[in-house]
Amino acid sequence: MSLLSVHDLELGFETPAGHVSAVNGISYTVEPGEIVAIVGESGSGKTVAAQAVLGLIPQPPGEITGGRVEFDGEDLLGFSEQQMRTIRGRRISMVFQEPMTSLNPVLSIGRQMTEAMRLHLGLTREAAEQRAVELLGLVGIADPGRRLRQYPHHLSGGMRQRVMIAIAIACEPVLIIADEPTTALDVTIQAQILALMQDLTRRLGVALVIITHNLGVVARYADRVNVMYAGRIVEQGRADSVYRRPGHPYTIGLLNSVPRLDRPRDVPIEPIPGSPPDPARLPPGCAFAPRCLHAVERCRSEVPPSISFEGGHTARCWQTAVTRPETAP
């Protein structure tokens, strides 16, 4: 049994312009201790899909219109707010995108680290603080005792994200969802934070869902990858397989638009032409068809089914026979 399995999740938002669907029936699984990436550009629905797992979508205006989110065999979508609170921070925790704004500016680091431990693990203040010191050491923050008494504005962005990671692992969850955890950080810090998350989750046996727009991150850190486009998963599979032989033109486009050191310097980066569709007005067929160089008539009228390749690798594309490379692009 998978640790987390999302089935046909559909959700949308009520807006003054009417119902806008943000996620159109996505399914993916996460096994215990595994690192799974969800890749997509802004507006592809990857963040709301992840927030829905923890019940963090404000309803209204958000609305989950279909699907199941099974965690450890139970459907989280059927949980009450009170039941969800026993999951959040305890079994599943989350690391957010903006370390500069994800810590409360008026509360001390110690307070923000210990409150969940005291609530979920029933620790005393002293015990929680002692554990907080250990956790800060674990995420590579020097002089943890002093840091506990400090406030977020005393810390740099990278340090704050380390604190967020320490908070995320504090109650020994089995799953961490990280929403673009390094997007807001300097490039040099990005690699450190990702390596730290990989190391910690491997060491502690925690599963990690990492949401990103950066395929480079996927290649280095993820076991499996789900590529999202316009609220659908268009390709999924083992990271090496997707990276070496992508099946969907969108994934190929993403790979070609990432600068790479292993290619000659004069090969230009190829951006994907056009821009993502308006979620309120999705085309009837494949949502990527208007931007796809290989689109045929059928792509514009019928949503492509999931085509299976070797090793559980799948892609939703009518044209994989034409587009999928024989070897690495």
């Binding site: 925790s93 957010f96 409360n104 500016p105 008026v106 001390s108 969940a116 504005h153």
Partner: protein
């Protein structure tokens, strides 16, 4: 911090000096002579000159000014030019507790109503409850205090006979008696500020609830009320404190008007009588005290900022 306080107090002194100077010259620019008015019956200008000399008001204005400043620095506010020439400090000492009682009570009422009202409004945004609070807030905001005061007197004093219509009782005569005299004027001047603060709490709270750290707090599985009170409220309070500081100062100004409706011999009555009588020392002294309160409440607000928000530190 102590260095900062010292600097602020120095600044406050400069403000007070400016106020004293402005009031001093403005009073003398207003036409009318108190002494001629006093001797109006007898029509003896020599008697008026006599009195003017006794108060040093026959000196050139700049001499009077420096004499006045010298006096104030020594803590002497002079004496009233009327009747038995009571020292201004005595007049203020008598009237000030009334005004400050009224102001503090009005402020307390305003804040205790406004903060829960604003919080409820924010938590149940766009609900009937929120609309109700908003409606009452705008009603309170649009009613002039003296009018509300008269309505209260008609209802609770003249109509129901629950409360005394006018007058003041000191706290020493018992809390109940004190409160029964002050509750109506306090509500009259406090209501508009309750409305302003409630609206401020609402918008500030809504702003904070949208922030990422609240989302983070939810993702930790914390209780809703805990997130609201411990995570959101202290952040929402920062802009509200600014408004509360201004409100405290303006409530004193409101007290000045409403004291007259309720015939409370507070600073406001003293001030108005002083102005009508051209009683220079009394007006100067009263305004100096009021401006001192303004400056002080601003200072308190700034110190409170630092207490709530760790990012604010005064070196």
């Amino acid at each position: 911090m102590s260095k900062y306080l010292l600097r602020r107090l120095l600044g406050a002194t400069v403000v007070m000096w400016a106020v004293a100077t402005l009031v001093f010259f403005m009073l003398r620019a207003v036409p009318g002579d108190p002494f001629l008015a006093m001797v109006f019956d007898t029509g003896d200008p020599a008697a008026a000159d006599e009195m003017r000399r006794a108060f040093g008001l026959d000196d050139p204005v700049y001499v009077q000014y420096f004499k006045y400043l010298l006096q104030v620095i020594q803590g002497n506010l002079g004496t009233s030019i009327y009747g038995s020439r009571v020292p201004v400090s005595t007049i203020i000492a008598e009237s000030f507790p009334r005004t400050i009682s009224l102001t503090v009570l009005a402020f307390t009422i305003a804040v205790t109503i406004a903060i829960p009202a604003g919080l409820i409004s924010a938590l149940y945004k766009y609900s009937a409850l929120d609309h109700g609070v908003t409606f009452v807030a705008f009603l309170g905001l649009s009613m002039p205090d003296f009018w509300l005061a008269i309505l209260l007197i008609i209802t609770f004093a003249a109509g129901l006979g629950w409360l005394p219509a006018i007058g003041y009782a000191p706290l020493s005569s018992g809390f109940g008696t004190w409160l029964s005299h002050l509750i109506m004027p306090a509500i009259a001047i406090g209501t508009p500020f309750a409305a302003i603060i409630a609206r401020m709490v609402r918008s500030s709270m809504l702003e904070v609830l949208k922030t990422e750290y609240i989302q983070v707090a939810r993702s930790k599985g914390l209780m809703r009320w805990y997130i609201l009170l411990q995570h959101a409220f202290p952040n929402a309070l920062i802009p509200v404190i600014t408004v509360m500081g201004i409100a405290l100062a303006l409530l004193m100004a409101g007290a000045v008007v409403v004291e007259n409706v309720f015939a409370i011999k507070g600073l406001g009555r003293v001030l108005i009588q002083g102005i009508l009588n051209r009683d220079y020392p009394v007006v100067q002294g009263a305004i100096l005290v009021v401006s001192g309160i303004f400056v002080l409440s601003n200072l308190v607000v700034d110190v409170l900022y630092a207490a709530i928000d760790p990012r604010i530190r005064y070196e």
